[in-house]
Symmetry: C2
Subunit: 717 residues, 2 copies
């Protein structure tokens, strides 16, 4: 077993530390019950509370602030901060400007939205205001008011931070930046945005000739270049949208930088954080896209830790692979930070949803098994919106750990069990590691598609067939990667890591036995080179459903093809192939890569017996190229995944008598944890046998797990 | 309690009879195991088997048929038919031409698809063939070959029908007609279709003046009228698409009529059936649309019974309302036929899905509670596709009752329990009825949208805002009707019926205490008159979120408004209203109806205190008009539904100590069944008290239900 990237963890006073937080919205709870809520949080063995500080709530009118409860006892933020101190509970604060949180106007003051001119609002391509609560982040007017708010709230945060003996240990900057483009399916074409986009293009290309050569255009000067609108019909449209995506990453980074500089200017030194949405309809396949929108921020701000909004809505075997994938992907894009959940589902926002305590408890333990090092139960406390301040209804969140009056609900006991477990295991749990032989490559530029193809976009702007291509990036993300390979490996009980090709070198990749690369027709030259180097240096790369021959602007770029001396043609055939002697493997596209037999071993064939998959030794390594697309819908797909893993003798870490039980092994020098998770609606009994190279585990009696439950076994090594 | 429409049932030899069938695909099972499969089916207490008869399987080459197993033992249909006879199992046959069933080319012979000219294939608006297995149903060439197939297979079916002492009791005509437009998101613009469309328009309008006055156009003659393409931008586009939807209903009816005449010409007298898809992603909110595509067939063929494809994929409290709604909607559109499930989920098609036996068993009992009178377990038997004949993989269906080799799986015992229950209860169960005080109006024309807005359509063609309207029919269907009202009533434990406004008069509606009408801006004059008559004659109508003032072609039509003397204006306001003294009710649109106080009682107000809901006595009845849209996302919505029900003193049939348990009461003169269903992932204990006007039930001890389970209590009256 190759040991993977060392998992990072939080520390406190230099010691490994698990951040256990619960979300308590003081503004949604009667002030005389704050203490009860915080006490119950502490009694549950959490060490931290978390809350938004809604701008609207405290700046009642322009320049009229209340942080001391003069106008309303629930505005007494100072009292809440002191209470945390008194009870020795750490605190995470989230003062916006945006908070969302189903607060009216997403936390922006109503008076502000009336006051702001049109220039401050996000605008559609026709210049219409998109929504009366969506502003342009970098508009002068919005920033000006935000700074006025910050000028009042940041001094309070500063004086109550840990170094000044206050409770505050972490602060979130704004909330889910850019999410509105995803959720509303709109793009902000505000003139300010367009002007910044023009600057970005000028800086990036410098001369019109360099842009023309990339875009295949005949512009006379850079001022002619306008942001793209509508559907992608040509290669040039595609280039423009790709740069528009890059621009927004740059733009969000600029916004965060401005806010952060302001925050730091107040001597606030606590850990900063930001949150990433991803789950939708119980599946997290959009996460690779959403996490990609923060690529510039992650690159430029190593003092900001990104946390997941980990809200599956329901737990089931059907979405268990999404939970694992989320934790692995976050680890990949932030290899130097602990994996943490800024919002860790506790209860439900929608009244019609049922979030059963036992299901959530199982979900929590699964996340511990995956390597999570901190989380914030969202919501620990139910709240009741102040009159007129809620976006949906009066009550905020149902089936939480405690209700708005401070009564314990079912979930409280589950949370207590999880917290106890973490506290009891102390450093053992935190410093334990998972091992993986399999690495899945994450190539983020494939998922820079929030403006062109996503689940919530009103109009799909990208149809790859219009460009003469056939591997749709959304299809690759959802069906081939997420619900294909990742679901397949999880179902088969093989652990994997994810590597962000943007932040790793081939040496790191060589610590795995296999690297799985899911590719479209395009990939930049550097990354193609990285993959070629990896193979030549001894790696085994599995790449499908195509070999990239274009760069990200759809210009010719055949590094992999040339470096690995691969030749192929494209040909249509039936949906069935045989691969590694498995017959009738269903493939998604009729288009397939066809190879000649020269210098390689054929491993897959179309029904017409054309070679559509090869294995080839190159340098010290080898490559397996499958020229067809497949996800996971039939048993043949699972057989194929496993057959490919066997090419490098990759084994499961345990033999288990019922493979429907998912397991995860975590080890340190001294101990080993085995997490067994029953994601099924059925009682399961099973035996297991440890088959790692390390010391054998004791023989185990039969284990029985109730529906949707878990068991952790700890062994000394 | 008003007794609802008498539920219909199947009969055999004049006696009430429950049709219990299991799907067994002889062509996917080794011939020497057929007997084992059928025996196990019979042992499970089923009375019927069901199978497709794939055209491709038996017409091996053009005009070369094998029904006797000469080329392959699994082609010996005759043997299979005799075996059913021998074992005294009735049989449902489905000889296509289309079968789908994940059979290659959906059951059409490969040689046929090569032979057919372009004219026989479904074509896009640009004349391209949409897919190589999608034909134009009424193309001469396709019908010609279909008749050649029918000429061989129908004589066999005829000679093996019940009246000729064979096993065949039912025959399905084709399969899920029209589903390809829904699934593929394409429209068939084959020249033949267009020519039939032109005929349809000519027959419907007769003169160009009459069309011009409806469409608001200036065409010179009817030949100018072309089928609509692309997006709806104008009222005229909308009219054209509405007629295009009507045309396809007519077209499907024509196709079925042709096939049926052929079938009857062979002296086949058995019950005919056809199946309706509806579930997608675990929710059935598209069913009202899909069932609407068969409106002409249902109207014209009372000898064809429509059955549901009842495949929820997973069972949960989240989609329990969909199951109930499906059964109630089918009953509404076919009031003179028993509710039956042509495909009743047993196992799963996708390998990654888990269909737990206990969940399915609960789903089966819930359907019995709703009034289902027959079903076909799909799939009772797992199958293995003949080489090259499967669309996806080798294996067809997983977690079935028995595997391909005839071994019992978990589901077998569940099915046996269900079948035993039905057989034991005999006529008592079949003749029992549910009662409802609440009727939900189904107005099918709202859902004639499969060409313009549906979940799978590639491009949404209808944006109502382009027409100056704001109540989107898809939003009405999904969020207001299905996941709003229907989910709300199910959660609250109030039973309801659905009435198809197309097939009922106001007297039938008067048997309920309340009629709930969810309306868009448009509704035809006759239906508006029906609703007005209902109110004047003593009915209570709840209508929202708007009063129709247009007909189905968006021409002025204010029957309800005039007959009920209602006056209102439209005004934008915040998303919150107070209604029936419930504050902060979330509404979906900012647009609301505003009423004056004259002659009515205000019941709802915007935040600006405009009246947005009224109650008004009219004639012998009354109307409650809510000028705002709401579904079910917060607790206030449930409170509002219940408050409105209380206006007519509508009560639940039981008081139950845990309202999370769903219950259904079925009664006949002699007996009463109470079905308790635990749709939750938790063990539940509860008491109940019967509060119907009828004889009181005994006092009950506490009942405990395991996660996802049920209990049926039977009482003598």
């Amino acid at each position: 077993m190759s040991n993977t990237e060392t998992e990072k963890y939080f520390t406190k006073n230099g010691e490994p530390y698990f951040l256990i937080s619960g979300e308590v919205h003081y503004f949604r709870i009667q002030a005389n019950k704050w203490k009860k809520h915080l006490q119950l949080l502490k009694e549950s063995d959490a060490n931290t509370a978390s809350t938004y500080i809604p701008w609207d709530w405290h700046e009642i009118e322009a320049n009229k602030f209340d942080f001391e409860g003069n106008s309303n006892p629930e505005r007494n933020l100072i009292k809440f901060l002191k209470l945390c101190n008194e009870l020795e509970i750490d605190l995470i604060v989230k003062p916006g400007p945006y908070i969302l949180a189903e607060y009216k106007n997403q936390g922006l003051p109503s008076w502000l939205l009336k006051k702001l001119g049109k220039k401050a609002f996000a605008q559609g391509e026709n210049g219409n205001i998109i929504s009366d609560d969506l502003v342009t982040y970098l508009s002068d007017e919005f920033l000006e008011y935000t700074f006025k708010w910050y000028d009042k709230v940041l001094p309070i945060i500063s004086s109550f931070q840990k170094k000044n003996n206050g409770p505050i240990v972490m602060m979130q900057i704004c909330n889910e930046i850019g999410v509105f483009q995803w959720l509303s399916g709109n793009i902000d074409y505000n003139p300010k945005v367009i002007s910044l986009y023009n600057d970005f293009i000028k800086k990036k290309y410098n001369t019109i000739d360099s842009l023309n050569s990339v875009y295949s255009t005949n512009y006379q000067n850079l001022d002619e270049v306008k942001p793209p609108v509508g559907r992608i019909k040509t290669k040039t449209d595609y280039c423009a949208y790709f740069d528009f995506h890059l621009f927004f990453r740059h733009y969000y980074n600029q916004y965060i930088t401005i806010l952060k500089n302001k925050i730091r200017s107040y001597g606030i030194e606590v850990q900063l954080t930001h949150n990433i949405p991803g789950w939708i309809y119980g599946n997290a396949s959009e996460l690779p896209m959403l996490i990609g929108t923060y690529s510039e921020i992650i690159k430029n701000h190593n003092d900001i830790i990104f946390g997941l909004d980990h809200i599956p809505e329901f737990q089931s075997f059907r979405n268990a692979h999404s939970g694992l994938a989320c934790n692995k992907i976050l680890q990949a894009v932030q290899p130097n930070s602990p994996v943490w959940a800024a919002e860790f589902q506790a209860g439900t926002r929608e009244h019609h949803v049922r979030a059963y305590a036992s299901d959530l408890e199982t979900f929590y333990f699964a996340s511990l098994a995956h390597g999570m090092k901190g989380f914030n139960y969202y919501m620990f406390s139910q709240g009741v919106n102040p009159q007129g301040k809620g976006f949906y209804g009066k009550t905020f969140y149902y089936q939480t750990a405690i209700d708005a009056n401070g009564n314990k609900l079912d979930l409280y006991n589950s949370i207590k069990k999880v917290n106890h477990f973490i506290r009891n295991e102390k450093v053992d749990l935190i410093t334990s590691q998972t091992n993986a032989d399999i690495c899945i490559a994450l190539y983020k530029p494939y998922f820079y598609t929030e403006l062109t193809t996503s689940q919530l976009l009103k109009e799909k702007r990208l149809n790859v067939s219009d460009l003469g291509l056939f591997v749709d990036p959304r299809f690759l993300r959802e069906e081939i990667l997420f619900n294909g390979l990742m679901r397949g490996l999880q179902t088969l009980n093989y652990n994997y890591d994810v590597a962000d090709l943007d932040n790793c070198d081939f040496k790191k990749l060589l610590t795995y036995k296999q690297l799985w690369v899911l590719s479209t027709e395009f990939m930049d030259a550097n990354t193609q080179q990285l993959l070629a180097d990896y193979v030549k240096s001894g790696g085994t790369m599995i790449i499908y459903p195509i070999i990239p021959t274009l760069d990200l602007y759809l210009n010719n770029c055949e590094v992999i093809k040339n470096e690995l001396s691969i030749d192929f043609s494209l040909k249509k055939s039936s949906h069935k192939v045989s691969a590694f002697s498995i017959d009738e493997v269903f493939t998604n596209f009729s288009q397939k890569l066809i190879f000649s037999e020269i210098n390689c071993e054929p491993v897959a064939f179309t029904e017409e017996r054309d070679i559509c998959g090869i294995k080839k030794k190159i340098g010290k390594g080898q490559v397996i190229i499958l020229g067809f697309a497949f996800g996971y819908s039939t048993d043949e797909h699972l057989q194929l995944y496993e057959k490919i893993l066997k090419q490098n003798k990759i084994k499961k870490q345990l033999e288990i008598s019922d493979n429907e039980i998912q397991f995860f092994v975590r080890e340190s020098d001294k101990i080993r944890y085995i997490f067994f998770i029953n994601y099924h609606n059925q009682t399961k009994s099973f035996n297991y046998k440890f088959i790692s190279a390390r010391k054998k585990s004791r023989t185990q009696k039969k284990i029985t797990l109730n529906p949707f439950s878990y068991k952790v076994i700890k062994e000394k090594l």
